[in-house]
């Protein structure tokens, strides 16, 4: 729907301004063939109102043929041919209207004058249509820049939200309660183990808070956090939880958003270990391939396990943060195959903090 046609008030405005432009057209027609103002206006005003609506059709042509880049020439030619068509339609309408007027209201207008009027309509119609097309292109460009601005803002807001949610999810109270319960159990049977677990838990919390406050962290730091976490879960789940950690040495220096891997590992433990009697192996892989860093988190899954609600929310959260971080090069892909659920993250491999790359600082 054309933006001007959506509301009655705007529609009235279109009709009124089109009717006003009927006055100069009437003046032009009187110049070519003298006639009373009433006759000229009776012909020109309705024709302009009609054409007012015809030129609005440029909107759809503009949207179909956007300006800029390789398509510009095609857009220009499409608009030219549309202008000829529109003008021809207008002239045709003008002929019908002129015949109607000459038969019923103004019979003394010579036939040659009517033909000339139609010619004027056709000649004037083409530039009028083109002016409308240009106005529409300007409007569309304005709207596009507005939308782009809004998108940038929205992305920023989602990124902040995602960070907050990640942090909140990080300090998962049930994880803490269960861990404290394990500590409680160990105090009786294995005081040394209880002590180690307290240390591990404290270390994990401190790291979580420290990493969460930063823009980026090294993959090594993130993995250290993940290892602390898995160490704590190991006490709870015992042999049910096996960990396979395969990290390429070159990958640990890469910068990643903080707490990116951690929620994925937590998911893997929940669905792959906690929800399964026999448990299994959580596998974490970090590989650097050219300019890209590939991270894989994999857990066993029962083939008949339904896709749970809530699983998607955590992944969406990670995906959004990844997009904010790596833009087009960042991807999150999930697959479920052969009894394994696998999340693969791909992101640009930066060794440095991206914003602080100072030119000329390397060697004086």
């Amino acid at each position: 729907m054309h933006p001007l046609l959506g509301r009655p008030a705007r529609l009235l405005l279109v009709i009124a301004s089109a009717a006003l432009t009927g006055v100069p057209l009437a003046w032009l027609l009187r110049l070519l063939e003298p006639r009373p103002w009433s006759a000229a206006l009776a012909f020109a005003v309705p024709m302009q109102v009609f054409y007012g609506f015809v030129v609005l059709s440029a909107w759809w042509v503009c949207r179909r043929h956007p300006m800029g880049g390789a398509g510009s020439w095609r857009a220009a030619s499409a608009q030219c041919s549309a202008s000829i068509q529109a003008s021809a339609v207008w002239a045709g309408m003008g002929a019908i209207w002129a015949v109607f007027l000459s038969r019923w209201l103004y019979p003394d207008l010579p036939r040659a004058a009517i033909f000339r009027d139609i010619g004027v309509l056709f000649t004037v119609g083409i530039p009028l249509y083109l002016i409308s097309a240009i106005a529409h292109y300007l409007f569309l460009a304005f709207e596009a820049s507005h939308a782009a601005e809004r998108r940038v803002l929205e992305t920023e807001v989602t990124a902040r939200e995602a960070e907050l949610r990640a942090l909140r999810a990080q300090l998962n109270p049930h994880f803490l309660f269960n861990s404290l319960n394990s500590v409680n159990a160990l105090i009786g049977s294995d005081p040394e183990g209880a002590r180690r677990m307290c240390e591990g838990l404290g270390d994990f919390l401190r790291r979580t808070l420290a990493l969460g406050a930063r823009e980026t962290v090294s993959l090594g730091e993130e993995l250290a956090l993940v290892e602390r976490y898995l160490g704590i879960e190991q006490v709870r789940f015992g042999e049910r939880l096996r960990v396979e950690l395969i990290v390429e040495p070159g990958a640990t220096a890469c910068r990643v958003p903080p707490l990116l891997l951690q929620p994925l590992v937590e998911n893997a433990v929940k669905h792959g270990i906690q929800d399964r009697v026999e448990g299994g192996a959580v596998r974490i892989e970090a590989v650097r391939e050219g300019g890209l860093l590939r991270l894989v988190v994999e857990n066993p899954v029962d083939d008949d396990a339904p896709v749970r609600r809530g699983e998607g929310v955590g992944l969406d959260n990670v995906r959004r943060r990844l997009e904010v971080f790596g833009a087009r090069d960042a991807r999150l892909v999930t697959s479920r195959q052969g009894g394994r659920f696998r999340v693969t993250l791909t992101l640009p491999a930066h060794d440095e903090v991206p914003q602080t790359a100072i030119p000329g600082a390397a060697h004086a």
Partner: protein, 265 residues
Amino acid sequence: MPESLRVVLVDDEAPARSLLREYLAAHPGVEVVGECANGFEAVKTIGELSPDLVFLDVQMPKLDGFEVLELLDPAPAVIFCTAYDEYALQAFEVHAVDYLLKPFGRERLAEALARARERLALAASRRESSPAEGDGAPEAAPAARAALARAARGPGRHAERIVVRDGAQVHVLPAERVDYLEAQDDYVAVHAAGATHLKHQTLSELADSLDPARFVRVHRSFVVNVERIARIELLAKDQRVAVLNDGRQVPVSRSGHERLKELLG
């Protein structure tokens, strides 16, 4: 000397079980007769040993604590042990003796245990005065347990699976694999993936727990998974059958047909 109490511990985490064991060792007369690490084991062990009291975790693999309770008839006295506080209200609706939030201490456990003894003594005295009523531990009616399971899922959510017990065996049937349900006296026959399982529950209760967008009561005694319906055939006036993809037929009453039309548009 307090009466002896036979106890089963159900928790998927070994440290949590050993903690309970340690705490309970301080209570004379309490005998831990079994330990289970998942819901399947729990159903089997509790069924075999009929303990006086069960310590039951909620979040476990395969079957959660509520599903375990749903499958036990008669249900034992239960003390829930979980890190999640959101199930507490519902737990008391099924007459759980107590609800221990992890981590908990010796005193809190002693309190729960005292409560359990009280409850069991009361049930025993009732049994003596009127032997016909009750047969041991205080138990919630299956209906109440189903209500609990529903409440535990939260509003607007539906059971994604049906648990049935066949002697010592427990089957977990994903809802999408169920073809139709059929009322048979006090049981519901669950027809799923070519097999039939009997579940001790009324058809209405079971149907209520399932997603109404998928399961439709087409007849007083039948609920059908609409995704299985190939076509509806009219046999006589107001007498229809739903023909399923595999050719089986399910009777459809007049009001059932209305409901089907409403759902399928």
